[in-house]
């Protein structure tokens, strides 16, 4: 489907960039004052080797967050290991049709999330890559370092909104491709609604096989669980074109909610079991308001 590009200034308006800047400055200020993350023990070995936990402080590298502990304790802790500064961030935003359908489209929240994370990572670490996916994965930006790359990233992210691309979602194909790519171990940030027509199981299976650390940013909205639909409808899947005739009754609504809740639980359970991070971003709310607590106070509402 060929769609017009959303201009960077529409996607990342001045207010958003300013907020990202504040988020980035906060992270950087903390870093200048002495990042606890830089207090490395010389006894630490090489490679990705877990040595210790430390409570998250503003400015700490979010890549080091131990999501497993967070899931269990509700508090953010950092894993300390030597390879921290060599941990690239691979941003994997979903650009399938489901991200563009609604108003406002989820892609805006997704790309803003991506830019925010890119901005912070670029100022803290060396490289950030951009690998959008839909039915397949592609490399939009090879892992690149440098503080001046933020606007370039903004431009690349904006380009993801335009052009001819395939509408569907295929996590398996995309993640299999990612797995096959000769990338340094890093943090894979998957920004998506995770609506794969094949279901969540293939997604989980593919994620399980990734050798990277995983942060899942699920772009949601309230109508995902409480759809504002009633009557006799012919539902058209915007990605597959599949038709589903449904008479929306109270029973059907209840069953729908149960199905969605199962989906959410499955995703949550996976993140916990895989020790992956799971952040739920409401597409109808300000993205940075939802991300800021993570970086400023170590609190995170999932």
């Amino acid at each position: 489907m060929n769609r017009p590009r959303i201009a960077p200034e529409d996607l990342f308006d001045a207010e958003f960039l300013e907020s990202v800047q504040r988020l980035r400055i906060v992270a950087q200020r903390v870093a200048r004052s002495g990042r606890p993350a830089e207090q490395r023990s010389r006894d630490m070995g090489s490679g990705i080797e877990f040595r210790d936990f430390r409570a998250y402080s503003p400015g700490d590298d979010f890549r080091a967050i131990d999501w497993n502990i967070y899931q269990r304790l509700g508090r953010v802790f950092l894993r300390l290991f030597e390879e921290l500064e060599d941990l690239p961030v691979y941003l994997v935003p979903d650009t399938s049709e489901s991200m563009f359908l609604e108003d406002p489209p989820r892609i805006k929240a997704a790309l803003r999330t991506a830019l925010a994370l890119a901005a912070i990572a670029l100022h803290q670490h060396d490289s950030v890559g951009l690998l959008p996916f839909g039915e397949d994965l592609e490399v939009a930006v090879r892992p690149t370092a440098g503080k001046g790359q933020v606007l370039r990233f903004a431009d690349h992210l904006s380009r993801l909104t335009a052009g001819e691309r395939q509408p569907g979602t295929d996590f398996k194909t995309s993640l299999d491709k990612l797995r096959a790519m000769p990338l340094r171990s890093g943090l894979v940030v998957i920004i998506s609604d995770f609506f794969d027509p094949a279901g969540l199981e293939p997604v989980i299976e593919s994620l399980q096989l990734l050798r990277h650390r995983v942060l899942l940013c699920q772009i949601t909205r309230a109508t995902d669980r409480e759809p504002d639909l009633d009557g006799d409808l012919r539902l058209v899947d915007c990605e597959t074109g599949q038709l589903e005739d449904v008479s929306v009754t109270a029973n059907v609504r209840d069953a729908y909610r149960r199905a969605y809740d199962r989906f959410e639980k499955k995703l949550t359970d996976f993140a916990r079991d895989r020790q992956a991070g799971l952040v739920r971003i409401d597409a109808d709310r300000d993205v940075l308001d939802q991300l800021a607590p993570l970086f400023e106070s170590g609190s995170l509402v999932v």
């Binding site: 489901s98 359908l101 609604d193 609506f195 409808l233 589903e244 449904v246 149960r258």
Partner: protein, 588 residues
């Protein structure tokens, strides 16, 4: 409960058909609103779990189908026209006004239009139509097609007479009660046991008394008709009385007219005697009745009582039936009385003092004699010895008169009720009785002993009355009769009467009522004129009947409306419930 429109079997089959249609509709693919969604992943699971309706597959919403079928069944039952058991099918009695006032202008055309409308509303198999005017004519019997009624209606109305809805209803109610089987309710009609709606088409009034006699379950409604002519006047009363001047052979005539808001000009009123117009000075002053704003009275005095034809005719207006009235004046000639010599001293002054009689010696009309006197062929007041007859007073009447009727009338006609018979009996030591027998000529035979001076009879106040009344009876003087009004009893009619259409009517017990205005001939050849003389008819043409409390201005509709209304309300209530269920998502 029974159904009016069709049998229960047909209704059930119809319901099955409707159920089939509903079933087919539910099986058909519903028109869906196309809705793009981000994913159908969860909807698929939900549908499988909720076992939602899958089109063109299994019939899933059986309860919804039953619910809708219930609503349809209620409406279908309402269409079938149910009514409660025992009430039977309602019958209709349509009375069509053909009175004189209903024949004014386009009234009959308006009534015909109303009848056509009624034919659309009323079932012909349960409707009777009667046209009521000078005669009561059946226009439609139950089972006949409505076209027959209209064809009969188009036949000319026979005669002009006053409204007679009361009379027709009275007969109808009497027939209904007499045909009612023992033990059944008076509200049941003789054959079907159903209530009746009386539909009145026209302006003829129905009295409160008749309306109150309608059995329970009966209804009476009036079909609305447009207003009639704006102004009308007519002769409402025509009466004759003995002349106020006292002259026996003269009478006074009183005419009352109605409909003039101001005193009418009597110059425009034509008053004739034997078709010759009366002089202007004979029309006395007209006075308004203090109670009626539009009623005016004229008195015509000392008109000759010689059997002449008196007519009054008003200027023509839109309704002419009431513009003319005619009466035959009585014959009241002074009778000659021959008095036998022995009785002349006793009866002479008495006879001469009576304005109806004069004494004469030649060609008398009546006589007063004794048995010893010469036989006379004229009607005679005859005094005879008591030994010659048992009754003290024996009345010999004409052969065509009835002795019992004569005797019963004698108390008044001969003034016998004034005689103190007890006192006379005491004095004579014998009962005083009255008898009657037919004879070739009228005579009144009285014991001559009653004339004895020692008795009080000749000195009593009753004696001159007895003599005067007896002489009048003997002379067969015509009574003062009032003008005969159409629809009113013709009390004085004694012989068969023939109307203008050569139809003969035999008066029985003074109940004969001529229905139509016109000229009637009695068997003795005497002519009588029947006029409308109806204040109600005169006034009705200018305004619609106010009706009776039992009458409403509704249009008739068929009987099962009450039950059908309840069914419709029930269906509406269920539809509301369905709407709520649908809106809350409890029903597809």
């Amino acid at each position: 409960m029974t159904l009016s429109l069709f049998s229960p079997l047909i209704w059930a089959l119809g319901l099955l058909g409707l159920a089939g249609i509903l079933y087919a509709l539910q099986r058909l693919r519903v028109r869906h609103r196309v809705q793009p969604v981000v994913t159908t992943l969860f909807w698929k699971e939900a549908l499988e779990e909720a076992q939602a309706r899958v089109l063109v597959r299994r019939f899933r919403h059986f309860l919804a189908f039953l619910f809708v079928l219930l609503i349809v069944a209620l409406l279908w039952l309402g269409v079938a026209g149910p009514h409660r058991d025992g009430s039977g099918e309602r019958t209709y009695l349509v009375l069509v006004d053909a009175s004189a006032s209903a024949q004014v202008g386009r009234r009959q055309a308006q009534i015909r239009d109303a009848l056509i409308e009624a034919s659309d509303a009323l079932p012909s198999d349960r409707t009777t139509v009667i046209r009521v005017g000078a005669t009561a004519e059946a226009l439609l019997a139950p089972g006949e097609p409505w076209e027959v009624a209209l064809k009969r209606f188009d036949q000319p109305v026979v005669g002009q007479g006053p409204a007679a809805f009361d009379e027709t209803l009275r007969h109808s109610l009497a027939d209904s009660k007499s045909n009612t089987p023992s033990g059944s309710s008076a509200s049941d009609s003789p054959t079907t046991g159903s209530p009746t709606t009386v539909v009145l088409i026209g302006d003829a009034r129905v009295s409160d008394a008749i309306a109150a006699q309608l059995p329970a379950g009966h209804r009476m409604i009036r079909w609305s008709l447009p207003d009639l002519i704006s102004e009308n006047h007519g002769v409402v009363t025509l009466g004759v009385s003995p002349a106020s001047s006292g002259l026996w052979d003269r009478v006074d005539v009183r005419v009352e007219i109605d409909g003039y808001p101001a005193p009418p000009s009597w110059d425009s009123v034509r008053v004739t005697l034997n078709d010759a117009e009366l002089p202007e000075d004979s029309k006395q002053s007209a006075n308004a009745s203090p109670d009626l704003e539009t009623r005016w009275i004229a008195q015509f005095s000392d008109l000759p009582a010689n059997g002449g034809k008196f007519s009054v005719e008003l200027p023509a207006d839109g309704f002419t039936a009431d513009d003319r009235a005619t009466i035959a004046l009585p014959r009241r000639a002074i009778q000659g009385v021959a008095i036998a010599d022995p009785l002349r001293a006793m009866f002479g002054d008495l006879v001469n003092a009576d304005p109806a009689f004069r004494t004469t010696l030649e060609s008398p009309d009546v006589a007063i004699a004794t048995a010893a006197g010469s036989a006379t062929s004229v009607p005679t007041l005859l005094f005879v010895p008591a030994s010659t007859q048992e009754p003290a007073i024996l009345i010999e009447h004409l052969p065509d008169e009835d002795s019992e009727s004569v005797l019963s009338d004698a108390l008044a006609t001969l003034g016998l009720d004034q005689i103190d018979a007890v006192d006379l009996a005491d004095q004579l030591s014998t009962p005083i009785t009255v008898g009657a027998r037919p004879a070739t000529v009228r005579r009144v035979l009285v014991w001559e002993e009653l004339l004895a001076p020692e008795l009080n009879f000749t000195q009593s106040h009753a004696f001159p009355l007895f003599v005067a009344y007896s002489l009048r009876w003997l002379a067969d003087a015509e009574p003062i009769t009032r003008a005969v009004a159409a629809g009113e009893p013709w009390i004085e009619a004694r012989t068969p009467v023939e109307d203008g259409q050569a139809r003969s009517f035999d008066p029985v017990d003074a109940r004969y009522r001529p229905r139509a205005i016109g000229e009637y001939r009695e068997a003795n050849g005497r002519l009588q004129w029947v006029s409308l003389q109806s204040e109600e008819e005169t006034r009705r043409v200018t305004r619609r009947s106010s009706g009776v409390s039992a009458i409403s201005e509704e249009r008739p509709d068929d009987a099962p409306e009450t039950v059908a209304w309840w069914l419709a309300l029930a269906a509406l209530a269920l539809l509301s419930v369905e709407w709520v269920l649908f809106r809350t998502g409890r029903m597809p």
